[in-house]
Symmetry: D3
Subunit: 307 residues, 6 copies
């Protein structure tokens, strides 16, 4: 296997590379390298890419953005000649990466419009897309404040809080249990997404669904910021999104609590009725339109599955 | 001041003695000592008790159980003669302590009836009353499982988990963010209370209200276990329960997060519509009956305030 | 055992005597006979009544009204002398029966006030108390219509429909599945109750809770008509009401459906938030006041249990 | 008839005297005069009071406070001798008036506790009790703002706005349609009541129920301020509160809109689930406790009706 | 008229052929026969098909699938020459039938993904599409249980129960009133559909909407399995779906209940907010996307109506 | 500037021309005149139209229909030659006007289908589209009644009431506060819209959102009648719809209420979950499909913004 593929795969597996967007772009880059450096015949090229695909997907099998990135390239690889195949694969990889970056920027811009001047934003975990919107609103001169949750067990809220504090945005850190208590001071919630299912359900960091529930109870708008490559085409054909569950050690050393079972699911599912809008690079949509976005972006694959 | 009063006050202030029940009983014990050891005239006796009262209340001014314990004794102290005053104060203190212990036992028994065989119970923090019900149900031979939250920032959930594991009850520990995710596996929620307001609102450990909200959403019965001395007579005359806010250091060393404000409220308020029943030593009631319980238990004080 | 006790017990067991009110009154009558005909000493009298009590309760162990009727008498039996014991038991039995009849009449009167002229009432099964209100409203000259459910498996709705049709009240019969469909034509729902729990939950004929849910969804007032002897004192100390489950044969001959399990619970539990008011002979109350009614009616027993 | 009774009755009928409290106190005063000035025998005295009662009630037959005031006096009139009858009637009238004034003051005090410093209060129409709470909170030095509705057709909101502006409280006037739009800026709603029914429903100025609904939707606490003489004992026995409907001319000259029917109901009914608490002079209660308050205050009458 | 058309029409009218799918396929088959056997000129051919269309639709005028099947063929009949017309009509009929069968298979496959291993599925009536999903899940080796309702008045639940029992799937039969009572044991609800309206409302067997309501209350996913030919294009232009009402005799012999009106609506309407997803052969969609599906499938007709 | 443009602009600014539809058509007409009368070169033509566009938009900057009308024409103006430019601009203007009129007619027709015979319709303010549906239903011979709100501060409800009364439709006028009170007599609500946002939110006359809330509470279908040119393309890229706030004098002369702030927002936002369907000239859709409608109608502009 190409060393870049190997390296990227290892880093994804070990969480050195993490976050739906970063994983996707790193995989695209690896596939590109793999394609450009290939020496051999066309048949071998196809095998080689297939191997890279399978390997990379195996390093984080539940990551939708990873699959979407790789298939984006493979679907656009023109295998009529080796030269064209290499060129088209590289072009598609570059395109995916560029699109993904542009998407982040656009989501920031559209999302910032939804954060009124003088408002308090609550966020969870450490989402690039949600931060993009908050920082853009701040850059536009809006006076905003942020409430960030600690986000146990990894405490990614500390990263979020530091980034915001550095930019001069007043930020308050709270424990995850205090979400409903502080909801009455919040004007809008902005979170990211790991995966969007075809019926509009949002899979994101554990705790997102109860933040959405508390926002809904208090009628605070709940916005999800998500690039279209986070929409899952497989959910169209009924697949349920698998919720990754990780080691209990991330919470506490199990030896401290003998006889106690510790469970550590990483994500949870927020039903679409608690999501006011999803901000994508294609505009602000109702979550109920997820199927349409998937059809537009991934329709070709789905039709292939149907055959 | 009597050294016992001093000592107990110090321990309450420093959190060495904590938990609504333990605080109340310790204060009652201290007042009793103070009364029995008193040397002097009747006038001085009254002064002495008043001083003890004021000092003890000052050590945790928002703790309703503390106030209720002390006033329970003072209301029953017959000051017609010194001897009678000492005797009646001691008797009232003993009575309060005994009642409080019997209450815990009865709540355990009544609450256990509400935990069906084969069920999974979710609990939060480390409540004696909720544990009493769970352990009683276990002792009755019911096969039950418990899901306990970590309860940041203090992680009292670890204590709860250990106690249950020791008794052989299967217990699963989760982070506070995972409450809604696991709610679908829960048959009944059982938590304690710090204070019950006259309109039925339940003030308890931060995170209780979002657990109640998630239980309500999923139609899982949400039970609060609370002795009647946790009902707040002052709320009858409109007083709002003050939510104690403690040092940010309990969450994280603020120097790690320069420029970030950290907020650490200890309790939150659960509205009565999310509470299916309150289990008291006087029986299982609707939260909406809180005013009646208060009138019955503390009517004499309230009438005094009205004059 | 007294032949009357035996006879009544048999009829209750075989469902010849059924309906919470009829069972209660029959049992009271039997106890009265048993007491009046007793020959022997006082000790034997107590044994005899105890035996009758245990036997009668065993014929329908989940029927609250049965227990309440019997204990009503026993609590009022003055055992200081045999003569007084016989007299007081008979008097209490008569009193219970008379009260129960007066209660039905009063509930009819109060309930009728809640049925406006020109309205359509939906009812379920065949409740004497609900019928009492409907017929009283009709007798007052109000023009009302009734929608009655079939009430599978026993189809008691046919009896209800016949009674109403005979009185000249326009009545429409529907299958149980059509409740929500017709709810938009309904102005008020009136049903009976088998048992009221201390937190206000209403246990009544299977199907009641989904009728309440559909009424709640459409904001149609949902009224429960219930004599106070249907309130369960045991629920105050945490007991859950046991839902009786009867033979599958009442639904279909199981041999017709080999390999299919058939379940036939007789009652279900309606949460208090779906009940707008309970009409009792003591007035129209919120369901959340159930504990108060129980305390008032059965306080003496509960206090005995607490000792 | 006594000229005072005549005069007061006329003023009530013509709306010169209006507002539940003012009506009640004026009627009490008239009954007192009528009693004190009476010349004749005891039998005539009873007739005279009965006549006054019937006449006064007829001037505003749906006003609960009017009936409650009159019956308060009649129930306390000791007719064993003429002298005692006159004295006791006058005493009861004075007592009623004094209680009613004290009630207003206490409700102001308890209600003010529920208005936090820095909060924005929404109110409807022109309620003495709600104003008492707002003004008391202001007098306590709390910085509060008020949003007052216009309250068509009479525009009593203008009176409310003027009273508040005069006291230096920032007040914003909005049209009745804008209630939900502004709800997101509101911290607490405080309104009065005309009548409280035994199941906790609140009858108040038309528009109250949709303000309660919008508050409930946004989880803004909705407080009703009501003296206990506004609780309706007749609702205990099933009577529905009659919603007064007044002349269309109060809205617009019907000749301007030929062929258009104009309806002008004065009150509407707010269900108890939208009311967070009722502030009475007996304390802050859940609306579900209305029956208890009625039993306590008017139990004697109800028992009489039952006989 | 062609004898096949006559025969199929008769069978549809008499309910010998029933179920949305079977009706549609039978009608397609009849139209095909009618076209192939036609002798005459082109003009006559068109008349002949039109007559067949009108006759068939008249046999069950509210059946959307029937209309959709017939129009599917007519829209694809190329009337430029008789030969081509016959061929294209036959081809379109075959295509419709084949598509409809493939749709059932695909819905089974996608729907099965939504039935997790170890889960309990509730279903209503006897839906081919819902059964397809349940049986596919079973064939995949998942251990599932089913709760089937009796489905009065026809008791189609017995057929469902027998089919499942035969396949070795544990199945429990309950009366329609017991739906809410058993909902707490259910993991997912799967039902079919008769018609889907353009705003996402689901018209299906009477009782479906209250099952959806109870599922929604308990947060149990409610899945509708529906082929796209069940989506109603006429609802796009505002037509309301007509709810068929059938003979009272299906419930009970009216002579048994003299004076009682018996109503027997066959379907009811479930609002889209209670439907978590519709599983179609085009994938799993939110009900709110119904309009898009209709536009895609039937856009040509709608545009024709607009002209 | 062209005098017609000037004149129309003035009339829009002064509210002489008002209502989303009339504004849009008047602006289209003005642009058409401006184009046809133009004398000069092509470059000047473009400048001239741009100037007209900017001027017209400035007269009511928050009116979406105004912008949509103007851009509709500009996007279709073929500037390859002056002649073609004039011709195409005029043609597009005519087309817009014709479409807008046809849209009103179609919405009337589709909307009328949703108003069943014998039903009572509630409406707010004075919407051409809602009236079109009501009058069409009436013309179809349906017996309907209407409840119209006064609609403070302008009382446009009087116009609505007059129009309906003139047509012989029974109409009842109520104050805005009475909406919830009368909702129980209503079968369907039909209102217009000023703007539809991309996530389905409906911006319409102040008071619409609380009417929607009350309809939702009572499960009364809430229908919005809106031409597609009222859908806002800018909301796709995150823009929030600006709620116009007008002079307090429209409510009351501020001098009458010294010290009182008067706020007069003209519109409010109704969340999509309270809207059962939007009736457009393209059919009856779920509000959640707004983004799809916008993409179809205005996709070209949005793509331009994305570049």
């Amino acid at each position: 296997m190409h060393p870049k593929v190997k390296e990227v795969g290892e880093k994804i597996r070990s969480m050195e590379i993490r976050g739906a967007g970063r994983i996707a772009r790193a995989a695209a880059e690896a596939i590109k390298m793999c394609a450009l450096d290939y020496q051999g015949d066309l048949e071998g090229f196809r095998e080689c890419l297939k191997e890279a695909k399978n390997y990379l997907i195996s390093t984080r099998p539940t990551a939708v953005s990873l699959k979407n990135a790789i298939y984006y390239i493979l679907m656009r690889t023109d295998v009529r000649s080796l030269e064209e195949a290499k060129r088209s694969a590289a072009r598609a990889a570059d395109e995916f990466i560029r699109n993904s970056e542009m998407a982040l920027e656009r989501i920031g811009k559209y999302g910032a419009e939804r954060i009124p001047d003088g408002s308090t934003v609550m966020t969870h975990c450490n989402s690039s897309a949600a931060l993009s919107a908050i920082l853009t609103a701040h850059d536009q001169g809006k006076k905003i404040e942020v409430i960030a949750t600690e986000t146990r067990p990894w405490r990614q809220g500390y990263i979020t809080a530091k980034v915001l504090a550095k930019e001069g945005i007043p930020v308050t850190l709270i424990v995850d249990s205090a979400v409903r208590h502080f909801m009455k001071e919040v004007d809008v919630v902005a979170v990211g997404a790991d995966t969007i299912a075809s019926n509009g359900a949002v899979i994101n960091k554990i705790g997102t669904s109860q933040m959405a529930l508390a926002a809904h109870e208090a009628r605070v708008p709940f916005l999800v910021m998500a690039e279209t490559y986070k929409f899952s085409p497989e959910t169209v054909i009924g697949k349920l999104v698998v919720i990754e569950e990780r080691s209990p050690k991330e919470i506490v050393d199990p030896e401290e609590l003998p006889g106690v079972r510790i469970r550590n699911p990483v994500f949870d599912a927020t039903p679409p009725e608690y999501v006011d809008a999803i901000v994508t690079e294609k505009g602000v949509i109702s979550p109920y339109l997820a199927y349409e976005i998937i059809k537009e972006e991934f329709g070709a694959w789905i039709e292939r599955w149907w055959k």
